[in-house]
């Protein structure tokens, strides 16, 4: 039997955890926040954890002897352990704190890839990637002549795995792909893609920016070599993200940024690198944000990732049904069973900026543009789309408001 989602009482309580949901966007207009794929809202427990840290604990970590420094270090490292448990990593040494998903991917591009890839080596990406998983590899391609190939996206918005299989015959060194599309909503068969990459002798990097916040992700099941994700999309603060890497790989990689905390010993002309995970964390990190991420993980764990996924799935199915009733509206991407809580659409020939602007006047926060996936939009021959994205704090009422507002937009543009 499928995991149950939230009952109405639980949902009502859950909504109270998010202070921002009670504000008005315009006088007399309440907020319907449908932009969680861009960034999520934060529960009071996350805000309080960071507030409490600054009010009671604030100190620099890892070197201090005094009480505040010890407490700060303990809280920060405790957050790392929570993250490790959350994705079922073998050890907290495999959890590198970065600024965000983008920096996590860049870390792999600047360290592992520069140490391991040479002229002519192949990296496989996909046509649906976010710019953060395209540009670092393009930079590397122009610097040292690595080759890039792309798993095509089908008209339904799925990765073409037959074409992928054929690309694997060219013996790629790395396959880097998104777990869930931030535009199509497609949940890619990540375990299978990783398994195929490994069978071809490639390392696999999974961009988990849209997956880790929304459904259970277990790095052992996935068997990914690297997994990148951001705190701010999973109820945590901006400014902190995670690179998970298998310990043996991380140990063999050269360090990333140089500076304090990433060293064991420094001489005038040389240094030796610190052990994991500190080897990749130069300088004072985002301490309060790390602690906030820990609180976000607690919230998600306590609520239950299975139940969040089940609830979002119900909500997404409902949204696709309601949106299909709006005449002239076309959602891109696959059917509900294959997608997460994202619906990007076009509305007749009305420009997405106009759609988003008019929706804002009714308190609906959506996103318009190419959502950092220009090549994907080119693939579907669309300059831009309007995107509504959902999280555990959205309700059917939000989607009803969206559908009826879209009818009014349609009417205005006639």
């Amino acid at each position: 039997m499928a995991t149950s989602s939230f009952n109405p009482g639980e949902l009502a309580n859950l909504l109270k955890d998010f202070p921002i949901l009670s504000r008005e966007v315009h006088p007399g207009v309440s907020l319907a926040y449908l932009d969680s794929a861009a960034t999520s809202q934060k529960p009071a427990s996350v805000i309080d954890a960071m507030d409490e840290y600054y009010r009671r604990t604030n100190a620099n970590i890892h070197r201090g002897i005094h009480m505040l420094a010890e407490e700060a270090t303990a809280k920060y490292e405790d957050a790392r352990q929570k993250v490790a448990r959350f994705i079922n990593a073998h050890s907290e040494r495999e959890i590198i704190f970065t600024r965000n998903t983008t920096e996590a991917i860049n870390l792999v591009a600047y360290t592992w890839a520069r140490a391991n890839l040479k002229n002519g080596d192949l990296v496989i990406l996909t046509e649906m990637e976010h710019h953060s998983n395209l540009v670092p590899w393009q930079i590397l391609a122009s610097e040292r002549g690595i080759r890039l190939e792309f798993i095509p996206v089908t008209d339904e918005g799925l990765l073409d795995l037959d074409a992928y299989q054929q690309l694997l015959a060219q013996e790629p060194r790395l396959v880097s792909f998104m777990h869930m599309s931030n535009v199509l909503g497609t949940i890619n068969p990540a375990s299978e893609i990783v398994r195929m990459a490994h069978a071809a002798g490639a390392v696999a990097l999974v961009d988990g920016a849209q997956s880790v916040p929304h459904f259970p992700v277990d790095v052992q099941d996935l068997d990914a070599d690297f997994l990148a994700f951001s705190a701010h999309k999973m109820l945590g603060p901006t400014g902190i993200g995670v690179l998970y890497g298998k310990e043996a790989l991380l140990n063999a990689m050269p360090p990333f940024l140089g500076g304090g905390d990433m060293i064991k010993k420094v001489m005038l002309r040389s240094f030796s690198a610190n052990s994991l995970p500190h080897k990749f964390e130069a300088g004072t990190p985002a301490i309060a944000e790390g602690i906030g991420l820990g609180a976000a993980v607690d919230y998600l764990t306590h609520t239950g990732m299975d139940r969040i996924a089940a609830y979002e799935h119900e909500l997404t199915s409902y949204a696709l049904d309601r949106l299909s009733e709006v005449s002239g509206l076309t959602v891109i991407g696959p059917r509900a069973e294959l997608r997460g809580g994202v619906a990007a659409f076009t509305l007749a020939d009305i420009h997405p900026h106009d759609v988003a602007q008019l929706l804002d006047r009714e308190g609906l926060a959506v996103r318009a543009g190419h959502h950092c996936a220009m090549p994907l939009h080119q693939r579907f021959d669309l300059p831009a789309t309007t995107r509504a994205s959902f999280y555990l704090y959205n309700t059917r009422a939000d989607i009803d408001r969206l559908a009826s507002a879209l009818e009014r937009v349609k009417k205005l543009f006639g």
């Binding site: 420009h351 900026h353 106009d354 937009v409 009417k411 205005l412």
Partner: protein, 132 residues
């Protein structure tokens, strides 16, 4: 539904008076807003006294960018190129009759940027052209 989308904006977006291309033309320029992919080309015909006699725009974009292009071209016909060079942000806002936030301001000002870059004969349209 919204005061930002005043009747005149929707009207000019749906039925622009100056949409098209002029071939031949005396001045042409095109540019885009990379943020949203809006693209505008403007063609002008200018008489021997340096007065704009005909104007047309083509391209695609949101209602704000398209309506502002149409209203702008209407306003420059009969003006001298010197007068066109003197146009600024406030002139566009006066034509549209609305207040705009920073993001949508870029949509509204794209046509002025393109027009002035063309009139100055510049290689690229700079944001400096539309600062007041």
């Amino acid at each position: 539904m919204d005061d930002l989308y005043r009747e005149i904006i929707i009207e000019r977006y749906k039925d622009p008076l100056y949409r098209g291309e002029l071939n031949p033309h005396d001045i042409t320029f095109e540019d885009e807003n990379p943020l949203c992919g809006d693209h505008i080309r403007i063609d002008l015909r200018v008489d021997e006294h340096g007065t704009v006699t005909e104007a047309a725009f083509s391209g695609h974009g949101c209602a704000i960018s398209q309506a502002s292009a149409d209203l702008l071209l209407e306003s420059v016909i009969g003006k001298s190129l010197d007068e066109v060079r003197g146009l600024g942000k406030q002139d566009i806002l006066d034509l549209l009759g609305i207040e705009l936030g920073p993001v949508r301001l870029k949509c509204a000002l794209l046509s002025l940027k393109v027009l002035k870059a063309g009139v100055y004969g510049m290689g690229e349209a700079s944001d400096d052209l539309v600062e007041d």
